[in-house]
Amino acid sequence: MLDAYIPVLLFVLVAIGFAIFTLMVSSLVQSSRYNRVKLEPYECGIEPVTDARDRYSVRYYLIAMLFVIFDVETVFMFPWAVIMDELALFGLIEMLVFLFILVLGYVYAWRKGALEWA
């Protein structure tokens, strides 16, 4: 079964080999004279003014948290969806209760102002 992967293996080897080969060749032919302009991050365009790493507003994290929670809860819906007809009304009610609890959490987050910006 593994022999099916042999072409892939060959391809990978060739790719890596090619990369290494080109690098070596270019390092042989390139000229190694530098000047200030060459060393700048951008040779054209606007001069960078501040540090690229900037701190995000805490709101992003809040939203991220809320998303993670409400997103993952869907994981409970897939099994239900699969055998929905089997569970019938009982399953439906169960799922509604489940969603109701989620909505409560949502309401809480909303009232707490977790969803507004600034």
Binding site: Y61, A64, M65, I69, V72, V75
Partner: protein, 102 residues
């Protein structure tokens, strides 16, 4: 012609678990440590799914679903805690969390 047996999964999960373990022990950034812990949990998930496949019942997969959900909840709570901490300490470096000791 080689068969992927549960043993392989076990080894994989063990390896993943160890990676997580090492991560917890050596990293300094709390967020990354927490990611390492998530790795450990996922190792558990691999185990469960593989065994569920082996013993031919779905309990393992149900277990996995709950683990995932709980992991998500923990992630959210953890993020909140770390934020609160960052507000006070302006750092997420774990070596600076030793106000309380001995």
């Amino acid at each position: 012609m080689m068969e992927i047996t549960p043993a392989h999964y076990t080894i994989l999960s063990a390896a993943l678990f160890s990676v997580g373990l090492i991560g917890v022990l050596v990293r300094r950034n709390i967020i990354i440590i927490f990611m390492a812990i998530e790795l450990m949990l996922n190792a558990v998930n691999i185990n469960l799914v593989a065994y569920a496949n082996e013993v031919e019942n779905l309990v393992g997969q149900v277990f996995v679903v709950f683990v995932i959900a709980v992991a998500a909840a923990e992630a959210a709570v953890g993020l909140g805690i770390i934020l609160a901490l960052f507000r006070n300490k302006e750092t997420v470096n774990i070596d600076e969390m030793n106000v309380m000791r001995s």
